[in-house]
Symmetry: C2
Subunit: 250 residues, 2 copies
């Protein structure tokens, strides 16, 4: 099982359009440092699943027929905006699985085109896709949001964005299901006290890391403020920043 962080950016991404902070300037100068909308791919058994669809070049990244399944964490625009053009494809069918579609934009469901929204996931109700067992786990966000625990070869990778902390039932689940690799929303630097929305700062992540005790915690949904903080501060042991294109094998 190959898990790739396709995008590791917060809603604003990096560079932020018009921003002249050091992190944004660096990302303009070196596109390899840019952070696109938080998203990932899971490859197993010769198939690929895209997790979240905030990228707007899905049609260019995936040759027609190569992408049959998208899993969504939630329906904020930076996680679904790529679906609006993708739906107008021809002769294809792409399953889009995620939380209850009552939270999805009505226009997307009304004119769904090649996208099939008929299957939704339920908290802690595992399913198997392409040989990987998946357990949806509720997150704590401003909209109904689901994280996913991927189990393969006796190991577990948890993909947990967008969230601020974790609901008690999800913490309880992880207490009984050890996590090897935790990929988690860390939008903000530890010193950001006016952070908007429901996203983790590094301090929130540290608490979760100590509680869940994965052997490896990887930050995603990173904002430019955190990038600036990381430019002058080391991350604690066993915690690392994700980057666009980072591959994790399990």
């Amino acid at each position: 099982m190959k898990f790739t962080l396709v995008g590791t950016g917060s809603v604003k991404g990096c560079p932020v359009y018009g921003c002249d902070c050091p992190a944004c300037i660096r990302a303009v100068m070196d596109p390899f440092l840019a952070r696109r909308p938080a998203s990932a791919t899971l490859e197993s058994d010769g198939e690929v699943i895209l997790i979240d669809a905030g990228l707007t070049d899905i049609e260019e990244r995936f040759p027609p027929g190569s992408l049959k399944h998208i899993m969504l964490t939630h329906y904020h625009m930076d996680h679904i905006v790529g679906l609006f053009s993708l739906r107008w494809g021809s002769g294809l069918r792409i399953s889009v699985t995620g939380p209850d579609t009552s939270d999805a934009p009505a226009e997307l469901l009304k004119h769904s085109g090649i996208l099939d929204f008929s299957r939704t996931v339920s908290p802690f109700a595992p399913f198997t896709v392409n040989g990987v067992r998946v357990t949806p786990v509720p997150l704590s966000h401003s909209r109904p949001t689901m994280g996913y625990a991927f189990h393969r070869n006796g190991r577990t990778l948890a993909y947990l964005t967008d969230t601020l902390g974790l609901p008690v039932e999800t913490l309880h689940f992880f207490a009984g299901n050890p996590v090897n690799v935790m990929i988690i929303d860390c939008s903000y630097a530890p010193d950001m006290t006016d952070a908007p929305g429901a996203h983790n700062s590094l301090n929130d992540v540290l608490e979760l890391h100590q509680r869940i005790q994965p052997s490896r915690t990887i930050l995603t949904h990173i904002g430019h403020e955190l990038d600036n903080w990381m430019n002058t501060n080391p991350l604690p042991k066993d915690i690392e920043a994700g980057h666009d294109g980072l591959v994790i094998t399990l």
Copy 2:
């Protein structure tokens, strides 16, 4: 005044993702034949206005600070989807002018970021921007939609998409305000009888061309079916197909 057709595609664009029709195959092989979402720029007095925001790479196309004004025809996603990431810019202000925002996605207005939706346009109420006089003209579409007549140096360019025919009051306006260049929605080939939505076929455009009598009619919002039709059929005199990047000076 320099008017550029940035995108000339229908909602599906060309190539349509997964389509193997001749027009789509050609557009895959030669990206210069691709049609991106219908949109345009108007350059005058050293400033640029973007007309419609269906492109998702606005931040790459326009260096920060170079784009201060966007005019919208309507709030269908293929005309506004690029605003969802653009809004998160920093230290900038972009005026977004268009029809009554009661038709705009609530999320876009609630979290408008750097976008200023405070000014809307009214039918036949002219205004001046960057030295160009503009008259908004109502169109006939499935949502409230405005075309724009740009007047400069005694000449008029009318940008009319998305529409099926034109409302009688708009036809009346053009009867008293001759059009030199008409850029118009032509989504469908003349033989398409099951055309969805409220868009012109070439037959509809021919009727409008004869009635309004511009010296030059340029087709936009073109679907792949019309591209296939044009591959084997000539267009009538004074009617030409637009293409992405086409520049019109007035």
